[in-house]
Protein backbone atom coordinates (compact mmCIF):
# COMPACT_ATOMS: atom_id res chain seq x y z
CA UNK A 1 0.00 0.00 0.00
CA UNK A 2 1.40 3.38 -0.97
CA UNK A 3 0.21 6.94 -1.12
CA UNK A 4 0.00 9.33 -4.02
CA UNK A 5 -0.71 13.01 -4.25
CA UNK A 6 -3.71 13.70 -6.45
CA UNK A 7 -4.91 17.26 -6.96
CA UNK A 8 -2.97 18.33 -3.92
CA UNK A 9 -4.38 15.63 -1.63
CA UNK A 10 -2.43 12.69 -0.28
CA UNK A 11 -4.47 9.51 -0.79
CA UNK A 12 -3.91 5.74 -0.46
CA UNK A 13 -3.55 3.83 -3.72
CA UNK A 14 -2.63 0.30 -4.79
CA UNK A 15 0.25 -0.57 -7.12
CA UNK A 16 -1.83 0.22 -10.19
CA UNK A 17 -3.04 3.56 -8.85
CA UNK A 18 -6.55 2.54 -7.74
CA UNK A 19 -7.61 4.39 -4.60
CA UNK A 20 -8.10 2.04 -1.66
CA UNK A 21 -9.87 4.22 0.94
CA UNK A 22 -13.52 4.88 0.12
CA UNK A 23 -13.71 8.05 2.21
CA UNK A 24 -10.65 9.73 0.74
CA UNK A 25 -12.41 10.23 -2.60
CA UNK A 26 -14.04 13.54 -3.54
CA UNK A 27 -15.73 14.75 -6.70
CA UNK A 28 -12.77 17.06 -7.31
CA UNK A 29 -10.40 14.12 -7.18
CA UNK A 30 -12.57 12.31 -9.73
CA UNK A 31 -11.98 15.14 -12.23
CA UNK A 32 -8.23 14.70 -11.86
CA UNK A 33 -8.36 10.91 -11.98
CA UNK A 34 -10.46 11.10 -15.15
CA UNK A 35 -8.04 13.58 -16.71
CA UNK A 36 -5.20 11.15 -15.90
CA UNK A 37 -6.77 8.61 -18.24
CA UNK A 38 -7.84 11.11 -20.87
CA UNK A 39 -11.52 11.39 -19.98
CA UNK A 40 -13.47 14.61 -19.53
CA UNK A 41 -16.42 13.95 -17.24
CA UNK A 42 -19.94 14.65 -18.55
CA UNK A 43 -23.30 14.09 -16.85
CA UNK A 44 -23.41 10.57 -18.34
CA UNK A 45 -20.05 9.75 -16.78
CA UNK A 46 -21.26 11.06 -13.44
CA UNK A 47 -24.35 8.87 -13.57
CA UNK A 48 -22.12 5.80 -13.81
CA UNK A 49 -19.68 7.03 -11.17
CA UNK A 50 -22.45 7.83 -8.68
CA UNK A 51 -23.96 4.38 -9.21
CA UNK A 52 -20.56 2.78 -8.54
CA UNK A 53 -20.09 4.79 -5.35
CA UNK A 54 -23.57 4.00 -4.01
CA UNK A 55 -23.39 0.34 -4.96
CA UNK A 56 -19.99 -0.07 -3.33
CA UNK A 57 -21.26 1.54 -0.15
CA UNK A 58 -24.22 -0.88 -0.05
CA UNK A 59 -22.49 -4.08 -1.19
CA UNK A 60 -18.89 -3.64 -0.11
CA UNK A 61 -17.44 -4.44 -3.50
CA UNK A 62 -16.87 -2.78 -6.85
CA UNK A 63 -19.75 -3.66 -9.18
CA UNK A 64 -19.10 -5.59 -12.37
CA UNK A 65 -19.94 -4.21 -15.80
CA UNK A 66 -22.94 -6.52 -15.88
CA UNK A 67 -24.19 -5.08 -12.61
CA UNK A 68 -23.77 -1.47 -13.78
CA UNK A 69 -25.91 -2.40 -16.80
CA UNK A 70 -28.53 -4.56 -15.05
CA UNK A 71 -28.89 -2.72 -11.77
CA UNK A 72 -27.53 0.73 -12.65
CA UNK A 73 -29.49 0.80 -15.91
CA UNK A 74 -26.69 2.01 -18.19
CA UNK A 75 -26.34 -0.03 -21.40
CA UNK A 76 -22.99 -1.80 -21.82
CA UNK A 77 -22.52 -0.18 -25.22
CA UNK A 78 -22.77 3.25 -23.62
CA UNK A 79 -20.24 2.32 -20.93
CA UNK A 80 -17.77 1.41 -23.67
CA UNK A 81 -18.36 4.82 -25.27
CA UNK A 82 -17.93 6.70 -21.99
CA UNK A 83 -14.91 4.75 -20.77
CA UNK A 84 -13.30 3.34 -23.92
CA UNK A 85 -11.77 -0.15 -24.05
CA UNK A 86 -11.74 -0.97 -20.31
CA UNK A 87 -14.92 0.45 -18.82
CA UNK A 88 -14.98 -1.71 -15.66
CA UNK A 89 -11.45 -0.75 -14.65
CA UNK A 90 -11.68 2.87 -15.74
CA UNK A 91 -14.96 3.49 -13.93
CA UNK A 92 -13.56 2.01 -10.73
CA UNK A 93 -10.39 4.08 -11.11
CA UNK A 94 -12.31 7.36 -11.48
CA UNK A 95 -14.82 6.46 -8.74
CA UNK A 96 -11.96 5.86 -6.29
CA UNK A 97 -12.86 2.20 -5.76
CA UNK A 98 -10.71 -0.94 -5.69
CA UNK A 99 -10.02 -2.65 -9.00
CA UNK A 100 -12.99 -4.92 -9.76
CA UNK A 101 -12.47 -8.35 -8.21
CA UNK A 102 -14.61 -10.09 -10.83
CA UNK A 103 -11.49 -11.36 -12.57
CA UNK A 104 -10.70 -14.67 -10.87
Amino acid sequence: MTTATIAGHEVHVDQEGFMTEYDEWTEDLAQTLAANIGIELTDSHWKAIRFLREDFEAEGETPTLRRVTNVGGIPTKELFELFPKKPAKKMAYVAGLPKPAGCV
Binding site: E16, G38, R66, R67, K77, F80, K86, C103
Partner: protein
Protein backbone atom coordinates in the same frame (compact mmCIF):
# COMPACT_ATOMS: atom_id res chain seq x y z
CA UNK B 1 -35.40 -35.75 13.41
CA UNK B 2 -33.53 -32.89 11.77
CA UNK B 3 -32.95 -32.68 8.05
CA UNK B 4 -29.91 -31.41 6.20
CA UNK B 5 -30.93 -30.80 2.61
CA UNK B 6 -28.17 -30.55 0.01
CA UNK B 7 -29.14 -29.18 -3.40
CA UNK B 8 -26.87 -30.65 -6.07
CA UNK B 9 -24.97 -33.95 -6.12
CA UNK B 10 -21.93 -32.70 -7.99
CA UNK B 11 -18.40 -32.38 -6.64
CA UNK B 12 -19.23 -30.10 -3.68
CA UNK B 13 -22.65 -31.53 -2.78
CA UNK B 14 -21.47 -35.15 -2.87
CA UNK B 15 -18.46 -34.39 -0.69
CA UNK B 16 -20.54 -32.38 1.80
CA UNK B 17 -23.03 -35.23 2.23
CA UNK B 18 -20.36 -37.93 2.45
CA UNK B 19 -18.22 -35.99 4.94
CA UNK B 20 -21.14 -35.09 7.21
CA UNK B 21 -22.90 -38.47 7.25
CA UNK B 22 -20.46 -40.15 9.66
CA UNK B 23 -20.36 -36.99 11.81
CA UNK B 24 -24.14 -36.62 12.26
CA UNK B 25 -25.98 -39.28 14.28
CA UNK B 26 -28.37 -41.25 12.05
CA UNK B 27 -31.12 -41.24 14.70
CA UNK B 28 -30.98 -37.42 14.85
CA UNK B 29 -30.18 -36.32 11.32
CA UNK B 30 -31.53 -37.16 7.91
CA UNK B 31 -29.34 -36.16 4.97
CA UNK B 32 -31.18 -35.68 1.69
CA UNK B 33 -29.53 -34.71 -1.58
CA UNK B 34 -31.49 -33.42 -4.57
CA UNK B 35 -30.37 -33.52 -8.17
CA UNK B 36 -32.15 -33.40 -11.49
CA UNK B 37 -30.59 -36.61 -12.82
CA UNK B 38 -28.42 -39.55 -11.80
CA UNK B 39 -25.38 -38.74 -13.95
CA UNK B 40 -22.29 -37.41 -12.21
CA UNK B 41 -19.91 -35.86 -14.73
CA UNK B 42 -16.17 -35.57 -14.15
CA UNK B 43 -16.14 -32.14 -15.75
CA UNK B 44 -12.34 -31.69 -16.05
CA UNK B 45 -12.50 -34.62 -18.48
CA UNK B 46 -14.49 -32.58 -21.03
CA UNK B 47 -11.29 -30.80 -22.06
CA UNK B 48 -9.77 -33.99 -23.45
CA UNK B 49 -12.80 -35.30 -25.32
CA UNK B 50 -12.46 -33.06 -28.41
CA UNK B 51 -8.95 -34.44 -28.94
CA UNK B 52 -10.03 -38.07 -28.59
CA UNK B 53 -8.19 -38.70 -25.29
CA UNK B 54 -11.24 -39.56 -23.17
CA UNK B 55 -14.56 -41.13 -24.06
CA UNK B 56 -17.83 -40.16 -22.43
CA UNK B 57 -17.91 -43.44 -20.45
CA UNK B 58 -14.76 -42.37 -18.62
CA UNK B 59 -16.27 -39.12 -17.40
CA UNK B 60 -19.85 -40.08 -16.46
CA UNK B 61 -20.94 -42.36 -13.57
CA UNK B 62 -24.19 -42.68 -11.58
CA UNK B 63 -24.48 -40.08 -8.79
CA UNK B 64 -26.13 -42.65 -6.52
CA UNK B 65 -23.00 -44.82 -6.58
CA UNK B 66 -20.94 -42.05 -4.95
CA UNK B 67 -23.28 -41.22 -2.07
CA UNK B 68 -22.62 -43.14 1.15
CA UNK B 69 -25.20 -45.35 2.83
CA UNK B 70 -27.67 -43.33 4.89
CA UNK B 71 -27.94 -40.50 2.37
CA UNK B 72 -31.20 -40.19 0.47
CA UNK B 73 -31.00 -39.07 -3.17
CA UNK B 74 -34.12 -37.38 -4.53
CA UNK B 75 -34.23 -36.96 -8.31
CA UNK B 76 -36.14 -33.96 -9.58
CA UNK B 77 -35.80 -30.42 -10.86
CA UNK B 78 -35.89 -27.60 -8.31
CA UNK B 79 -38.58 -24.99 -8.78
CA UNK B 80 -37.58 -22.66 -5.95
CA UNK B 81 -36.43 -22.30 -2.37
CA UNK B 82 -38.65 -20.52 0.14
CA UNK B 83 -35.97 -19.57 2.70
CA UNK B 84 -38.42 -17.92 5.09
CA UNK B 85 -40.39 -21.18 5.30
CA UNK B 86 -37.37 -23.55 5.24
CA UNK B 87 -38.91 -25.27 2.25
CA UNK B 88 -37.75 -26.38 -1.21
CA UNK B 89 -40.38 -26.81 -3.91
CA UNK B 90 -39.57 -29.30 -6.64
CA UNK B 91 -40.77 -28.84 -10.21
CA UNK B 92 -43.03 -31.92 -9.96
CA UNK B 93 -44.93 -30.44 -7.00
CA UNK B 94 -43.15 -32.25 -4.17
CA UNK B 95 -42.13 -30.18 -1.14
CA UNK B 96 -38.98 -30.82 0.89
CA UNK B 97 -38.69 -29.20 4.31
CA UNK B 98 -35.26 -28.61 5.85
CA UNK B 99 -33.58 -27.50 9.04
CA UNK B 100 -30.34 -26.65 7.24
CA UNK B 101 -29.83 -26.05 3.53
CA UNK B 102 -26.64 -26.33 1.49
CA UNK B 103 -26.86 -24.98 -2.06
CA UNK B 104 -24.30 -26.74 -4.27
CA UNK B 105 -25.90 -26.54 -7.69
CA UNK B 106 -22.82 -25.26 -9.47
CA UNK B 107 -22.64 -23.12 -12.57
CA UNK B 108 -23.40 -23.87 -16.19
CA UNK B 109 -22.78 -22.38 -19.65
CA UNK B 110 -25.64 -20.26 -21.04
CA UNK B 111 -25.03 -19.62 -24.76
CA UNK B 112 -28.55 -18.15 -25.07
CA UNK B 113 -27.42 -15.12 -23.08
CA UNK B 114 -25.26 -13.81 -25.94
CA UNK B 115 -27.15 -12.76 -29.10
CA UNK B 116 -26.41 -15.11 -31.99
CA UNK B 117 -24.27 -17.53 -30.02
CA UNK B 118 -26.80 -20.36 -29.94
CA UNK B 119 -27.79 -19.45 -33.52
CA UNK B 120 -27.62 -21.15 -36.87
CA UNK B 121 -23.91 -21.95 -36.66
CA UNK B 122 -24.18 -23.60 -33.19
CA UNK B 123 -22.92 -27.14 -33.61
CA UNK B 124 -21.70 -26.37 -37.16
CA UNK B 125 -18.90 -23.86 -36.72
CA UNK B 126 -19.66 -22.62 -33.18
CA UNK B 127 -18.99 -25.03 -30.30
CA UNK B 128 -18.46 -25.14 -26.58
CA UNK B 129 -16.55 -27.76 -24.62
CA UNK B 130 -18.09 -27.07 -21.19
CA UNK B 131 -20.80 -29.69 -21.70
CA UNK B 132 -20.47 -33.35 -22.62
CA UNK B 133 -22.60 -32.86 -25.75
CA UNK B 134 -20.51 -29.85 -26.75
CA UNK B 135 -17.17 -31.57 -26.34
CA UNK B 136 -18.39 -34.69 -28.19
CA UNK B 137 -19.75 -32.60 -31.08
CA UNK B 138 -16.43 -30.76 -31.23
CA UNK B 139 -14.53 -34.08 -31.32
CA UNK B 140 -16.56 -35.05 -34.41
CA UNK B 141 -15.88 -31.67 -36.01
CA UNK B 142 -12.13 -31.84 -35.42
CA UNK B 143 -11.89 -35.29 -37.03
CA UNK B 144 -12.57 -33.81 -40.44
CA UNK B 145 -11.78 -30.10 -40.07
CA UNK B 146 -9.28 -29.04 -42.70
CA UNK B 147 -8.01 -25.91 -41.02
CA UNK B 148 -8.61 -22.17 -41.11
CA UNK B 149 -9.18 -19.62 -38.39
CA UNK B 150 -9.74 -21.17 -34.97
CA UNK B 151 -10.94 -18.68 -32.37
CA UNK B 152 -10.88 -19.78 -28.72
CA UNK B 153 -13.08 -17.38 -26.80
CA UNK B 154 -14.21 -16.51 -23.26
CA UNK B 155 -17.49 -14.59 -23.00
CA UNK B 156 -17.29 -13.15 -19.50
CA UNK B 157 -15.68 -13.88 -16.14
CA UNK B 158 -16.18 -15.73 -13.88
CA UNK B 159 -16.12 -19.10 -15.62
CA UNK B 160 -15.55 -22.47 -14.08
CA UNK B 161 -12.00 -23.73 -14.39
CA UNK B 162 -10.48 -20.45 -15.61
CA UNK B 163 -7.38 -22.07 -17.19
CA UNK B 164 -9.44 -24.49 -19.33
CA UNK B 165 -9.73 -22.20 -22.38
CA UNK B 166 -5.94 -21.71 -22.39
CA UNK B 167 -5.44 -25.44 -22.03
CA UNK B 168 -7.79 -25.93 -24.96
CA UNK B 169 -5.67 -23.57 -27.08
CA UNK B 170 -2.43 -25.36 -26.06
CA UNK B 171 -3.91 -28.80 -26.74
CA UNK B 172 -5.30 -27.63 -30.09
CA UNK B 173 -1.84 -26.37 -31.08
CA UNK B 174 -0.33 -29.76 -30.17
CA UNK B 175 -3.18 -31.66 -31.88
CA UNK B 176 -2.73 -29.82 -35.19
CA UNK B 177 1.06 -30.21 -35.03
CA UNK B 178 0.63 -33.93 -34.48
CA UNK B 179 -1.64 -34.06 -37.52
CA UNK B 180 0.91 -32.08 -39.57
CA UNK B 181 -1.62 -29.35 -40.27
CA UNK B 182 -0.58 -26.63 -37.84
CA UNK B 183 0.48 -24.42 -40.79
CA UNK B 184 -3.11 -24.48 -42.02
CA UNK B 185 -4.56 -23.27 -38.71
CA UNK B 186 -4.47 -19.73 -37.36
CA UNK B 187 -5.28 -19.74 -33.62
CA UNK B 188 -6.51 -16.63 -31.78
CA UNK B 189 -7.24 -16.52 -28.06
CA UNK B 190 -9.93 -13.93 -27.29
CA UNK B 191 -10.58 -12.89 -23.71
CA UNK B 192 -12.37 -10.17 -21.72
CA UNK B 193 -9.33 -10.10 -19.39
CA UNK B 194 -6.41 -7.78 -20.06
CA UNK B 195 -4.00 -10.68 -20.53
CA UNK B 196 -3.82 -14.45 -20.87
CA UNK B 197 -4.91 -15.09 -17.27
CA UNK B 198 -6.26 -13.43 -14.18
CA UNK B 199 -3.27 -13.04 -11.89
CA UNK B 200 -0.14 -11.09 -12.99
CA UNK B 201 2.69 -13.66 -12.66
CA UNK B 202 0.63 -16.49 -14.16
CA UNK B 203 -0.69 -14.14 -16.83
CA UNK B 204 2.84 -13.25 -17.98
CA UNK B 205 3.94 -16.88 -17.95
CA UNK B 206 0.88 -18.18 -19.80
CA UNK B 207 1.01 -15.23 -22.20
CA UNK B 208 4.57 -16.27 -23.03
CA UNK B 209 3.38 -19.82 -23.68
CA UNK B 210 0.81 -18.48 -26.17
CA UNK B 211 3.59 -16.54 -27.96
CA UNK B 212 5.86 -19.58 -28.13
CA UNK B 213 3.09 -21.50 -29.84
CA UNK B 214 2.24 -18.76 -32.32
CA UNK B 215 -1.20 -18.21 -30.78
CA UNK B 216 -2.43 -14.62 -31.10
CA UNK B 217 -3.92 -12.94 -28.03
CA UNK B 218 -6.86 -10.52 -28.27
CA UNK B 219 -7.42 -9.08 -24.77
CA UNK B 220 -10.15 -6.80 -23.38
CA UNK B 221 -12.72 -8.25 -25.77
CA UNK B 222 -16.21 -7.99 -24.32
CA UNK B 223 -18.55 -9.78 -26.75
CA UNK B 224 -21.80 -8.18 -27.86
CA UNK B 225 -22.93 -10.79 -30.40
CA UNK B 226 -22.02 -13.58 -32.78
CA UNK B 227 -22.69 -12.72 -36.41
CA UNK B 228 -23.73 -16.06 -37.95
CA UNK B 229 -23.72 -14.78 -41.54
CA UNK B 230 -20.37 -13.03 -41.53
CA UNK B 231 -18.98 -15.67 -39.12
CA UNK B 232 -17.48 -13.10 -36.81
CA UNK B 233 -17.67 -12.25 -33.14
CA UNK B 234 -18.34 -8.58 -32.46
CA UNK B 235 -17.38 -6.69 -29.30
CA UNK B 236 -19.19 -3.78 -27.63
CA UNK B 237 -16.45 -1.48 -28.89
CA UNK B 238 -17.07 -2.79 -32.41
CA UNK B 239 -14.05 -4.96 -32.99
CA UNK B 240 -14.83 -7.90 -35.28
CA UNK B 241 -12.94 -11.18 -35.26
CA UNK B 242 -13.61 -13.60 -38.12
CA UNK B 243 -13.64 -17.35 -37.49
CA UNK B 244 -13.98 -20.61 -39.38
CA UNK B 245 -14.26 -22.50 -36.11
CA UNK B 246 -15.33 -20.75 -32.91
CA UNK B 247 -14.76 -22.59 -29.64
CA UNK B 248 -16.40 -20.41 -27.04
CA UNK B 249 -16.95 -20.51 -23.31
CA UNK B 250 -20.47 -19.08 -23.02
CA UNK B 251 -21.59 -16.92 -20.11
CA UNK B 252 -21.54 -19.07 -16.97
CA UNK B 253 -24.49 -18.70 -14.60
CA UNK B 254 -25.66 -20.34 -11.41
CA UNK B 255 -28.84 -22.45 -11.39
CA UNK B 256 -32.02 -20.70 -12.55
CA UNK B 257 -33.94 -21.60 -9.35
CA UNK B 258 -31.50 -19.43 -7.37
CA UNK B 259 -32.71 -16.43 -9.36
CA UNK B 260 -36.38 -17.48 -9.06
CA UNK B 261 -35.93 -17.76 -5.29
CA UNK B 262 -34.47 -14.24 -5.05
CA UNK B 263 -31.34 -15.68 -3.44
CA UNK B 264 -28.73 -14.81 -6.06
CA UNK B 265 -26.78 -11.98 -7.66
CA UNK B 266 -26.99 -10.94 -11.35
CA UNK B 267 -25.45 -14.26 -12.38
CA UNK B 268 -27.51 -16.38 -9.97
CA UNK B 269 -24.61 -16.96 -7.59
CA UNK B 270 -25.53 -17.11 -3.92
CA UNK B 271 -23.86 -14.42 -1.76
CA UNK B 272 -22.15 -16.02 1.26
CA UNK B 273 -19.40 -15.20 3.73
CA UNK B 274 -16.17 -15.98 1.86
CA UNK B 275 -14.57 -17.66 4.88
CA UNK B 276 -17.51 -19.71 6.25
CA UNK B 277 -19.99 -20.06 3.30
CA UNK B 278 -22.90 -18.99 5.51
CA UNK B 279 -25.56 -16.78 3.94
CA UNK B 280 -25.66 -13.26 5.43
CA UNK B 281 -29.47 -13.37 5.19
CA UNK B 282 -30.44 -16.79 6.53
CA UNK B 283 -28.63 -18.43 9.40
CA UNK B 284 -29.45 -21.97 8.22
CA UNK B 285 -28.45 -21.56 4.56
CA UNK B 286 -24.98 -22.21 3.14
CA UNK B 287 -23.72 -22.23 -0.45
CA UNK B 288 -20.55 -24.01 -1.46
CA UNK B 289 -18.61 -24.80 -4.62
CA UNK B 290 -19.32 -23.00 -7.90
CA UNK B 291 -22.83 -22.00 -6.74
CA UNK B 292 -21.42 -19.50 -4.23
CA UNK B 293 -20.25 -15.98 -5.11
CA UNK B 294 -16.74 -16.51 -3.67
CA UNK B 295 -13.97 -14.34 -5.14
CA UNK B 296 -11.81 -17.32 -6.08
CA UNK B 297 -11.77 -19.72 -9.02
CA UNK B 298 -14.82 -21.83 -9.74
CA UNK B 299 -13.16 -25.24 -9.67
CA UNK B 300 -13.36 -28.68 -8.14
CA UNK B 301 -10.14 -28.09 -6.22
CA UNK B 302 -11.69 -25.07 -4.51
CA UNK B 303 -14.79 -27.12 -3.67
CA UNK B 304 -12.54 -29.80 -2.19
CA UNK B 305 -10.58 -27.43 0.07
CA UNK B 306 -13.79 -25.55 0.94
CA UNK B 307 -15.63 -28.71 2.02
CA UNK B 308 -12.82 -29.59 4.45
CA UNK B 309 -13.33 -26.25 6.18
CA UNK B 310 -17.12 -26.30 5.87
CA UNK B 311 -17.60 -29.70 7.52
CA UNK B 312 -16.00 -28.69 10.80
CA UNK B 313 -17.71 -25.30 10.81
CA UNK B 314 -21.11 -26.84 10.12
CA UNK B 315 -20.83 -29.19 13.08
CA UNK B 316 -20.02 -26.22 15.34
CA UNK B 317 -22.77 -24.05 13.86
CA UNK B 318 -25.57 -26.58 14.43
CA UNK B 319 -24.52 -26.81 18.09
CA UNK B 320 -24.82 -23.05 18.40
CA UNK B 321 -21.05 -22.59 18.66
CA UNK B 322 -18.96 -20.04 16.76
CA UNK B 323 -17.40 -21.35 13.54
CA UNK B 324 -13.63 -21.51 14.05
CA UNK B 325 -12.28 -22.52 10.63
CA UNK B 326 -11.75 -19.88 7.96
CA UNK B 327 -11.44 -20.66 4.25
CA UNK B 328 -8.52 -18.90 2.53
CA UNK B 329 -9.73 -19.27 -1.07
CA UNK B 330 -7.18 -22.01 -1.77
CA UNK B 331 -7.22 -23.30 -5.35
CA UNK B 332 -4.87 -25.33 -7.44
CA UNK B 333 -5.11 -26.32 -11.06
CA UNK B 334 -3.16 -28.42 -13.46
CA UNK B 335 -2.77 -26.49 -16.69
CA UNK B 336 -2.32 -28.92 -19.57
CA UNK B 337 0.14 -27.42 -22.05
CA UNK B 338 0.18 -30.04 -24.80
CA UNK B 339 2.60 -32.78 -25.92
CA UNK B 340 2.35 -34.68 -22.63
CA UNK B 341 3.24 -31.82 -20.31
CA UNK B 342 1.37 -29.70 -17.81
CA UNK B 343 1.91 -26.87 -15.34
CA UNK B 344 0.55 -26.66 -11.84
CA UNK B 345 -0.59 -23.47 -10.15
CA UNK B 346 -1.50 -23.00 -6.48
CA UNK B 347 -3.05 -19.80 -5.06
CA UNK B 348 -5.65 -18.28 -2.72
CA UNK B 349 -7.67 -15.09 -2.10
CA UNK B 350 -4.57 -13.05 -1.29
CA UNK B 351 -1.57 -14.73 -2.92
CA UNK B 352 -1.24 -15.16 -6.66
CA UNK B 353 0.30 -18.34 -8.17
CA UNK B 354 4.05 -18.49 -7.49
CA UNK B 355 6.86 -20.92 -8.36
CA UNK B 356 7.83 -23.70 -5.92
CA UNK B 357 7.08 -27.39 -5.24
CA UNK B 358 3.79 -29.12 -4.35
CA UNK B 359 2.41 -30.64 -2.16
CA UNK B 360 5.63 -30.94 -0.12
CA UNK B 361 7.76 -27.75 -0.04
CA UNK B 362 11.19 -28.37 -1.58
CA UNK B 363 10.34 -31.97 -2.50
CA UNK B 364 7.32 -31.90 -4.74
CA UNK B 365 7.04 -34.25 -6.53
CA UNK B 366 5.08 -31.68 -8.52
CA UNK B 367 6.67 -28.44 -9.73
CA UNK B 368 4.64 -25.24 -9.65
CA UNK B 369 4.58 -22.83 -12.61
CA UNK B 370 6.73 -24.94 -14.95
CA UNK B 371 5.77 -27.31 -17.74
CA UNK B 372 6.65 -30.85 -16.67
CA UNK B 373 5.70 -34.40 -17.68
CA UNK B 374 5.12 -35.23 -14.02
CA UNK B 375 2.36 -32.62 -13.83
CA UNK B 376 0.63 -34.14 -16.86
CA UNK B 377 0.68 -37.57 -15.22
CA UNK B 378 -0.62 -35.92 -12.07
CA UNK B 379 -3.51 -34.49 -14.02
CA UNK B 380 -4.40 -37.83 -15.61
CA UNK B 381 -4.04 -39.68 -12.32
CA UNK B 382 -6.34 -37.18 -10.67
CA UNK B 383 -9.38 -38.64 -12.46
CA UNK B 384 -8.86 -41.89 -10.55
CA UNK B 385 -8.43 -40.00 -7.27
CA UNK B 386 -11.60 -38.04 -7.99
CA UNK B 387 -13.84 -41.08 -8.28
CA UNK B 388 -12.10 -43.19 -5.66
CA UNK B 389 -10.92 -40.82 -2.94
CA UNK B 390 -12.26 -37.30 -3.37
CA UNK B 391 -16.00 -37.94 -3.82
CA UNK B 392 -16.20 -40.61 -1.10
CA UNK B 393 -14.75 -37.97 1.25
CA UNK B 394 -11.42 -39.62 2.03
CA UNK B 395 -8.67 -37.24 3.09
CA UNK B 396 -6.12 -36.53 0.39
CA UNK B 397 -2.52 -36.06 1.54
CA UNK B 398 -2.51 -32.36 0.69
CA UNK B 399 -2.97 -29.40 3.03
CA UNK B 400 -6.31 -27.57 2.99
CA UNK B 401 -4.86 -24.08 3.43
CA UNK B 402 -2.34 -22.74 0.95
CA UNK B 403 1.29 -22.86 2.08
CA UNK B 404 3.91 -20.20 1.30
CA UNK B 405 6.78 -22.45 2.40
CA UNK B 406 9.39 -22.82 -0.33
CA UNK B 407 7.56 -20.54 -2.71
CA UNK B 408 9.53 -17.85 -4.50
CA UNK B 409 8.11 -14.39 -4.79
CA UNK B 410 8.68 -13.08 -8.26
CA UNK B 411 10.24 -9.62 -8.60
CA UNK B 412 8.92 -6.84 -10.83
CA UNK B 413 5.34 -6.92 -9.61
CA UNK B 414 3.98 -4.15 -11.78
CA UNK B 415 5.75 -3.06 -14.92
CA UNK B 416 5.14 0.37 -16.42
CA UNK B 417 3.38 -1.43 -19.27
CA UNK B 418 0.86 -2.92 -16.87
CA UNK B 419 0.37 0.46 -15.32
CA UNK B 420 -0.40 1.74 -18.78
CA UNK B 421 -3.15 -0.82 -19.06
CA UNK B 422 -5.38 1.09 -16.67
CA UNK B 423 -4.76 4.23 -18.65
Amino acid sequence: MKRLLVLGAGTAGTMVANKLRPALATDEWEITVVDQDDSHHYQPGYLFIPFGVYTSEEVVKPRSRYLSAGIELVLGGIDRVLPEENLVKLADGRDLAYDYLVIATGTRPCPDETPGMAGEEWGKSVFDFYTLEGSKALAEKLKTWEGGRLVVHITEMPIKCPPAPLEFAFLADAFFKERKMRHRVEITFVTPLDGAFTKPTASRLLGGMLDERGIALEPDFYIERVDNEAKTIVSYDEREIPFDLLVTVPLNMGAAFVGRSGMGDELNYVPVDKHTFLSPHWDNVFAIGDAADLPTSKAGSVAHFAVEVFTENFLQHVKGQAMTRSFDGHANCFVESGAGKAMLIDFNYDVEPLPGKYPFPGLGPLTLMEERRMNHWGKLMFRWLYWNALLPGRRLPVPTSMSMTGKRKVATPISPVEKEKVQ
